[in-house]
């Protein structure tokens, strides 16, 4: 049991560090270190441009999507090397936010299900940050119950014709491509009638409407499809196999967002050491200490659970549903921390104006962003179901719609 680098790991780290020192956008570092919860505010620089520039630079030098095969724009790196890279990249890693869905979910889905030619065509520009991808899964009638989705795909010659609506699609307004799950057969039970595609987001008939979020930003969108044509060649997996294909994406989603989720603990600890309650720093208060200790254990527990997962990965084990705990713990912790930080500020805690707010308005931002963490990519309740059923082996929930043809399932 050790955290020491092997000689190869040390060499890799040195190489990564030297390249980052020579190439990273140092002028953004201070802003990046402060950023974290919600949007990226970079003084005087367009965040999207900064993200694309850093990604392209990494790609050109062979430091993008490290774990992908070289042929698809990656580096063929080991899981440990990926971790080392992350440690060395540090705050610059926050410039990858826009690419997470593509690199973490759409890319692996293409790798598992697209043709060789498609992989060579689409993956390198995705790795380079030239093409941004989105995940068109959730619908008004299908979030947790994803297989309840209604967007229809009907075969017409060599094309499929798509009609329907997606919702909560993160980043759709910036994307070139998306992976799209549709219903191709409503006469069979719901999981059996689904088919997956990828499409050009500029296709005629695609309409994107940003949705204003709780925190005032518009990270996600509604996406409407009206007679959108997708060539059959852009189908991923067989007709009717969409559910299986989606599991590839969702498994990777859990990994991507489950690892290294911020809890806000470091920020909170620092804040409690500085914040004077009138009777000295908050950290001296018994009630505060008890909470800090609990959060410290959660943050540390997540960190070392991650280390264990990486060790398992490098032994060749496949990551399983136990990785669900990352987001479950991090989301709730961040929400608790934000609420309590504001409480310590008293009435002033309500002030979120960045010019005036305490602690750079960080905890107000956390307060207003954390509800999303508990919903996106599987709600807390769904994650608990997954742990109970897939890790502990408890019975699945009773499903009244399981063996019924989709079109016979009652709707609201």
């Amino acid at each position: 049991m050790n955290f020491d680098d092997t000689p190869q790991e040390a060499a890799f780290r040195a190489e990564a560090r030297a390249w980052i020192d020579a190439n990273a956008p140092h002028e953004l570092l201070a802003d990046l270190e402060n950023a974290g919860f919600g949007g990226l505010n970079l003084s005087g620089v367009d965040p999207m441009q900064a993200m694309k520039a850093w990604q392209k630079k990494k790609f050109d030098a062979g430091w993008a999507c490290l774990h992908w095969p070289k042929d698809y724009g990656g580096r063929g790196a080991t899981p440990i090397e990926r971790v080392i890279w992350g440690q060395e990249e540090g705050a610059y890693g926050k410039l990858s936010g826009t690419f997470i869905i593509g690199h973490g979910m759409c890319g692996p889905t293409l790798m598992a299900w697209a043709t060789e030619e498609q992989k060579r065509q689409y993956l390198p520009p995705m790795a380079a940050g030239e093409d941004i991808w989105c995940q068109l899964f959730s619908e008004p009638a299908g979030g947790s119950d994803l297989a309840g989705l209604r967007t229809r795909a009907v075969k017409d010659g060599d094309d499929w014709v798509i009609n329907g609506q997606k919702i909560w699609t993160s980043g759709a307004q910036h994307c070139q491509y998306g992976i799209l799950i549709t219903r191709t057969d409503p006469t069979v039970p719901k999981h059996k009638g689904l088919t997956m595609f990828f499409l050009d987001m500029k296709s005629p008939g695609v309409e994107i409407r940003p949705i204003k979020q709780v925190n005032g930003q518009s990270g996600f969108n509604e996406v409407y499809f009206t007679d959108v044509r997708i060539p059959d060649a852009q189908r991923l997996g067989a007709v009717g196999q969409g559910w299986t294909v989606s599991l590839t994406t969702l498994m990777n989603e859990r990994l991507t967002i489950g690892s290294g989720m911020p809890t806000g603990f470091e920020e909170m600890f620092d804040f409690c050491c500085r914040m004077d309650t009138g009777e000295g720093p908050a950290v001296d208060d018994k009630a505060v200490r008890s909470k800090l200790a609990d959060w410290a254990c959660r943050a540390s527990g997540l960190k070392y659970t991650g280390m264990r997962a990486i060790s398992a990965l490098s032994r060749g084990e496949t990551p399983g549903p136990e990785n669900s705990i990352g987001k479950l713990v991090a989301g709730a912790t961040m929400q608790d921390i934000a609420t309590f930080a504001l409480d310590l500020m008293g009435q002033y805690g309500a002030v979120s104006d960045p010019e005036m707010a305490a602690a750079q308005s960080r905890f107000q931002a956390m307060l207003l962003r954390s509800p999303a963490t508990r919903v996106e990519g599987g709600t807390d309740e769904i994650l608990r179901n997954i742990i109970a059923e897939r890790v502990l082996g408890l019975p699945a929930d009773i499903r009244v719609d399981k063996d019924v043809p989709f079109e016979k399932i009652p709707t609201a």
């Binding site: 600890f269 609990d294 410290a296 659970t305 082996g393």
Partner: protein, 371 residues
């Protein structure tokens, strides 16, 4: 980087698990819980013979000279099986303190006997309600005689000697070794929340005492020893958490209500999921502690307190929810749920309570961040 136990350590775990399944079944735990014996003497002897007691004691003193990681693995299995033996007192605390602070003759006198199980040691610090602190300790040594009262002393009835924290003349605290079978010592068993681990009230009246470690160093020796013991105890707590969770899961699969297994109700599923989350975080934090302990990292203070607080929380949660999942059955003497509930709440106190460790953790993080 490799953040897992090695294959050899995993094998040791399997061996320990099998051994304890045979030799520390719940009937053995109950025999101590309900009987007059302060611990399971046959099991203790066996653990010595298997080399488990001496895993982290150097070979020159009769141990196996393996290391802390091996001791952590064994601790987890002892926790799982609720082994009714004075392991924490004799090995995690007494042997560790003698290793760390003992003179040559003290090591030679005690370590081989501790490794074989022939002698049992314990640690006596508490004198009454409230936290043990430099101020709380009134026991005093004058010349080489110790007087005062310690209560409760975990494994105090089983032990041959105690390491006692006492005022050293007019100076601050020192530690002393006292022969519990010698003159000036009167001990009696006290009733506790977990009688499967006997405890004593011990009165010292001019009992011969031999200083352990430097004069006036008692509190710092104690603090360091408690950190090491906290990591090892965290593994016992993690083992206990896992076992309590498994019991609850198994029962949830079996028990039918409203025409379906209770494990299909989401309230039960989510309760079990929360137990799993707490147990997983605790395990990962315990590994962090094990890493710090085995490498002598400067971070041991933070790591030990993290492991401790996390493990206490997990075991208490798993212990109480295991009863909840079992319903009325969970509250019977006949079902084993209470054995885990008792142990969870005992281990939460033995090295100092949760709020005490929370304080330590926060204080240490603060010092680390300031550095």
């Amino acid at each position: 980087m490799n953040f897992e136990f090695s294959d050899e350590q995993q094998q040791l775990r399997d061996t320990a698990r099998r051994y304890l399944a045979d030799h520390s079944p719940s009937v053995a735990v109950r025999a101590v819980l309900e009987g007059e014996q302060p611990y399971d003497t046959a099991l203790w002897k066996g653990l010595g013979e298997m080399g488990f007691l001496g895993a982290a004691i150097p070979e020159e003193f009769g141990g196996l000279g393996l290391g802390y990681l091996e001791l952590c693995v064994i601790a987890e299995e002892l926790g799982r099986s609720l082994a009714p033996v004075p392991m924490s007192s004799s090995i995690y605390l007494a042997a560790e303190l003698i290793k760390a602070a003992g003179s040559g003759p003290q090591k030679t006198a005690w370590l081989p006997k501790l490794a074989s199980g022939e002698a049992i040691g314990c640690l006596a610090t508490s004198e009454g309600p409230g936290r043990v602190s430099e101020k709380s300790i009134q026991a005093r040594v004058t010349g080489d005689r110790l007087s005062g009262a310690k209560v409760p002393v975990l494994d105090g009835m089983a032990a041959d000697f105690a390491i006692v924290a006492a005022r050293d003349g007019d100076r601050s605290l020192s530690l002393f070794i006292v022969d519990l079978n010698g003159p000036g010592v009167a001990r009696q068993a006290v009733g506790t929340i977990d009688p499967a681990r006997g405890q004593a009230s011990i009165a010292f009246d001019n009992a011969p005492a031999e200083r352990l470690g430097a004069a006036g160093e008692g509190f710092s020796l104690l603090t360091e020893a408690l950190d090491r013991a906290a990591v090892l105890t965290a593994f016992e707590q993690v083992g206990g958490s896992d076992k309590a969770l498994e019991m609850a899961r198994d029962y949830a699969l079996q028990r039918i209500a409203f025409g379906r297994p209770i494990g299909s109700f989401q309230a039960i599923k989510h309760m079990l999921a929360d137990m799993y989350v707490a147990a997983t975080l605790a395990r990962s934090n315990a590994y962090y502690g094990a890493w710090a302990l085995s490498t002598g990292a400067a971070e041991l203070g933070v790591a030990a307190a993290t492991a401790r607080v996390s493990a206490t929380k997990a075991f208490q949660l798993c212990g109480k929810n295991n009863i909840q999942v079992h319903g009325g059955m969970g509250f019977t003497w006949a079902f084993d749920c209470h054995l885990f509930y008792r142990r969870a709440n005992l281990l939460a106190l033995t090295l100092g309570g949760q709020s005490e460790w929370e304080d330590k953790l926060v204080e240490r993080l603060r010092r680390r961040n300031a550095a």
